[in-house]
């Protein structure tokens, strides 16, 4: 087995390829492959193991009351699945997990994984970072959803995307995807973008958004 790509996995960050191999050789694990579109887990199923995406991309998604599918996030290799649901009091999948592309997973049972954590400071620290990052990701998402108006959500999103001081960025997705992400209707996204543009706060050409008036955007979400 070739573990070299795992050097870039959040769980093994900072650990040499040799050491990863040594650690994993002493750990029991399984491997499983999925075709694009195949369901890996269903919402409500128990989580009894840590799953690491060796290659491919998977997504988490929810279904709302009207049947609309809401994508929660993408997890590309070499990320981990369900890491925040392996411990705690509700150890079951909160979302459906679907393979976007052909995918292979490495699966380590919880008890085996606990031994790994206790025996390796580095992996422990990495795992703490990972599940903390999940909370932080969800917390950020709640910030969007808490804004009542779509313009507010967009403003928050745009400001977040340009925190680094850039004046423009590329929506890495279609308006339909963005609408799913915000849990709103697609034409409403188009309308809100147009309004922000009409008001001179942004300039949109294709999927590239130029931020023209950062102050007014900030006011939209802090007044």
């Amino acid at each position: 087995m070739d573990y070299s790509q795992l050097v870039q996995s959040p769980l093994f960050r900072g650990i040499s390829s040799d050491e990863i191999e040594k650690v994993l050789t002493g750990t029991s694990k399984k491997f499983r492959k999925y075709k694009a579109g195949e369901f890996i887990a269903f919402s409500g199923e128990p989580v009894s193991s840590l799953m690491i995406v060796l290659y491919g991309v998977v997504k988490g998604e929810m279904v709302d009351y009207s049947g609309r599918v809401i994508k929660i996030e993408d997890i590309p290799a070499p990320g981990a699945l369900a890491s925040a649901f392996l411990f705690g009091s509700r150890t079951f999948f909160p979302v459906n997990v679907v393979a976007i592309s052909d995918t292979e997973l490495m699966i380590i049972e919880k008890s085996d994984f606990l031994k790994l954590l206790m025996n390796n400071d580095r992996i422990l620290g990495n795992f703490l970072d990972m599940i903390s990052n999940r909370s932080q990701f969800l917390s950020e998402k709640i910030k969007f959803l808490n804004f009542r108006t779509i313009k507010g959500k967009l403003a928050q999103y745009i400001l977040h995307q340009t925190m680094n001081g850039r004046l423009s960025f590329n929506l890495g997705m279609t308006q339909a995807d963005l609408a799913d992400y915000f849990a709103v209707a697609r034409p409403s996204i188009a309308r809100a973008l147009k309004e922000l543009e009409d008001e001179g706060l942004i300039e949109a050409s294709g999927k590239v958004i130029n931020v023209l008036d950062r102050k007014s955007l900030a006011q939209l979400i802090s007044d």
Copy 2:
């Protein structure tokens, strides 16, 4: 110092009072008191230590674009603050933290806390449970916020509160609090409750909700 109440803290669950005292004696820490209403931390401030509420109650809250305060959660003693923001890549407070009642906190610096984790399997397991539970809490909240209609949010909330098979439960808060929790307007909550009642799905007397038609509630959020 009296650590007896910490036996009930999630971080020290399953550890005897004597052992808690022994462990904490060997750990450097600070104590700090806050008056009711006082701000403990502001959104965006760095998190550099674990904070445990020794007595009192604190809350986390956000401010949306229109100035409305959205309460995220209450943390009564002997809970921990900011536990999901001590590790990971964005180690700063995601919300304002305010003392609801007079409060005392025990504060342990991150580096000291790490030693604690490495030296005590039980505390490690408890901490993993705690930060995982945070993700799970946030994930549950996102489920509410993702429903577009208020009736959908309410249905999700009511079904969640009666998962255990009970037919009734007590909203432990006012309609105004519930409105904040859902990030909607207060009269809209009253209206939605009335509609659910008119349609015969629930019966509300005061803060007690009787679930009359579980199937229709489930349909509201899955059709």
